[in-house]
Amino acid sequence: MLSLFLIAFALPAFAGPFEDAVAKFANDDFSDTEEAIGVIAGSGSKLAFPIINALQDGRLMADPDSKKVYVTGTDGKSIDAATGEAVASVPDTASAVRLNNRLRRSVDAALGSLTLQSPDLGTRLQAAQSVFKSHEETALEAVDSALAKEANKSVKAALAEARAAILLFKSDATEVEKLEAVATLKARGDQDALALLTGMGDQPASVTKAAASAIGSIQNSLAVWSMVQNAWYGLSLGSVLLLAAIGLAITFGVMGVINMAHGEMVMIGAYTTFVVQEVIRTRYPGLFDYSLLIAVPLAFLVAGAIGVLIERSIIRFLYGRPLETLLATWGLSLVLQQAVRTMFGPTNREVGNPSWMSGAFELGQITITYNRLWILLFTLAVFAILLAMLRYTALGLEMRAVTQNRRMAASMGIATSRVDALTFGLGSGIAGIAGVALSQIDNVSPNLGQSYIIDSFMVVVFGGVGNLWGTLVGAFTLGIANKFLEPVAGAVLGKIAILVLIILFIQKRPRGLFALKGRAVEA
């Protein structure tokens, strides 16, 4: 082929059919253009795809004087369409080859059949899907020939579905073919298939009947999938709530300290992520995918250190006065917000997703984004580590001892004030870690924390103060309930309904789902 180009370049008089076809674009005649499209699409030349693609985008330039045709790339560089040689510049007399609606359809069909046999797997799959959506009769031949050559399973399935979609709408297809098509679409069973089946128009009686039963079964399976989807969204929201509330479950639930500045610890964690990413961007761009792994321990340390500082300087003077603690920490939250606003500005800061956190995959009929999945897993990991820490480490033992009976713990030689500071630091540090995760799905702004504080308190109070498992159950219950209410009532009303339900729930069980029993209650 290359030698052919070379010859063609050297001896334009002996140009082959491909070169002739290319030259026809310069005639500025719609029927010549159509002919050219057909020849080029069938030529098998590797220039065929760039030429037709450029034609579709209006980047195919034809010079009527010299009959030369150029492809201008999206990067601004041009090549000679007939030879593939790079050219320095396109002559001023050249103008874009014009299209009309009829031609646009042929261009689409040509592109479809060209891409259906592209060596790249993703391109082939995409092409098959776009044929499925357009179900143009003209593409049938291309689909058939591609189907014969295709080796990959998923592309083959997509091609078969595309073929079914075409046949269903093809007026001269046989009844058997149409019944097969309906069966194929039923097996696909998603919203697109449903739309095709409901909109297929007049058909033979047997096909209509088969379609009706297919529609019924697709609708059933879609209903199930939408439940699954809601449940997944609910789990995802629940994991966010849990992540935001888990630190609070320590400071409020275990220590009894109302920390209204908890949301600001989350915000500080998010800003730590931002700073880490800024440093990585400017100094070590190769490490970007590890930025979150670096940010997690740093956020824990930064937020934890600030937490210890707050406990030592403010909270320790207010033990046993929960309402005063509430006011002081609210003031603290204003100060922290304003400090961050002064340092980083009031606008949202850009925090990027590492490559392993972006994108999504399909599971049956639902789409699961990687960032939500990672956050769910991360939340569960943090929860498990925290639980293990409280259960198996010396510090955890001391924390439990101090919360259960402070004076007895002190008598046994535990430095209670040190434990208080560390517990508060732990809760704050976990809030900081939450900030790292939330920076991936939320805007990083000085107000980040405020949007979580009320929800977090709701989760802890609903789950039952002093019980980490209660927080877990509370977060997922609220998350799932919220997402199931949303399609019924709308997002805002759903949220209001949840708030009202929690208020009513607290009337019934003032100490939450999993209430502590015995003396600790009145403490």
Partner: protein
């Protein structure tokens, strides 16, 4: 003998307070209206409106002090009652606009015409009459507080839990009022008012009258609170604050006392909101923001919890500082100052300005009087509230 002396000293504070408020309520409007503009002693109209706003905040602070200072109920949702009262008044003012709106519809407010609503929603009926709106200013917040309190106090939701669910209440209302289809103007709220009882709300005379009315309401509210806390009922409230279980075991129906005082307080907050709206000229959902309610609590803490006079004073002092600092070059630092105020007051000045002053006054009296009096004074709970929850 000792209680008598203390009551007298408190009465002195209360009397001074009432006289000052009454004097301001008369002198400021007179100076604004009678003296020529630009004269040294003339109070400009914008200041009249500003101080009218402070007076409304002072009423809100009184309402919070009544429940927090004397009954130990820390409501973080009192801004909701304030805003509901404000909305009731705002609805009346909206209906007074009549055909002077942008769309000139005689019945429907502009935002409803804009949303293509054909007729007035049922809950807007009656708001064209002032007496009905004025009644609703009391009834709507009162009813909400009654229902909310009835549920909460009966199931013994106390302390922090109550604070958190009151916050959830105002947050839920915030979300609801932001919705356009809720029928209260959504994000923009109610504004562009023209008349109140036939007087132009922008006119100097109306502003002066509204200021005088706010001062009057402050005086009446203060007297009601004083009457409640100095009665036998007030003693029970203080007992509930200091030892709720013990009071219950002594045979008092704690929840009824709490419910009563909570409802009264909500009605007062509603009145404050109703007077606030014509003076600032707008009511929108941001009044429901949980931050506002918490800020109102800090006014009380700054002035002195459980002193009434202190609550009103705290509201004026903090808001004056806010106006002063947010309008100057120090504006970016205002939140630092407000935050620091929260922290420092709770840490260093737990009794607030008036509480600390009272303690100092008592102490200097103690030096002059006998030691027996000192020991008796320490037992009294009115001037020195125990801040333990």
């Amino acid at each position: 003998m000792t209680p008598h002396m203390l009551t007298r000293s408190l009465d002195r504070g209360a009397t001074i307070f009432l006289l000052v408020v009454a004097a301001l309520g008369v002198l400021i409007p007179l100076s604004n209206l009678l003296l020529p503009a630009g004269s040294f002693l003339q109070v400009p109209t914008y200041l009249v409106a500003l101080w009218g706003k402070y007076a409304c905040y002072a009423i809100l602070a009184l309402a919070i002090d009544l429940i927090w200072g004397y009954c130990g109920i820390l409501s973080l949702g009192h801004g909701a009652f304030f805003a509901l009262g404000g909305y009731a008044m705002g609805m009346y003012l909206m209906r007074q606009i009549g055909t002077r709106g942008v769309y000139g519809n005689p019945i429907l407010p502009d935002f409803m015409v804009f949303l293509n609503w054909q007729k007035l929603p049922w809950y807007w009926y009656g708001f064209d009459m002032f007496w009905f709106a004025a009644l609703m200013v009391l009834v709507v917040p009162g009813l909400l507080a009654f229902c909310f309190g009835w549920l909460a106090f009966r199931s013994r939701v106390t302390g922090v839990y109550l604070s958190i669910i009151t916050q959830a209440m105002t947050y839920a209302l915030l979300l609801a009022f932001f919705r356009n289809d809720f029928g209260f103007g959504g994000n923009n709220g109610l504004t562009d008012f023209k008349d109140i009882l036939g007087f132009n709300v922008q006119a100097e005379g109306t502003r002066a009258a509204l200021f005088a009315l706010s001062c009057l309401a402050l005086i009446v509210g203060f007297l009601i609170c004083r009457a409640i806390v100095s009665s036998k009922l007030g003693k029970v409230l203080i007992a509930v604050r200091d030892a709720e279980s013990r009071t219950r075991f002594l045979g008092y129906r704690v929840e009824s006392y709490k419910l009563f005082v909570f409802t009264v307080s909500a009605c007062m907050a509603g009145v404050a909101g109703a007077l606030y709206v014509p003076q600032v000229g707008i009511i929108n959902p941001s009044e429901f923001a949980p931050g506002n309610s918490i800020e109102a609590v800090i006014w009380v803490a700054v002035g002195g919890r459980g002193t009434l006079v202190g609550a009103a004073l705290g509201a004026v002092v903090v808001n004056y500082a806010k106006t002063f600092f947010t309008s100057g070059v120090l504006a970016p630092y205002w939140l630092f100052m407000l935050g620091a105020l929260f922290i420092l007051v709770t840490l260093l000045l737990p009794k607030g300005i008036v509480g600390t002053f009272n303690a100092w006054w008592d102490q200097s009296n103690e030096k002059r009087t006998s030691a027996t009096m000192a020991s008796a004074a320490a037992e009294d709970g009115v001037t020195e509230p125990k801040l333990a929850e």
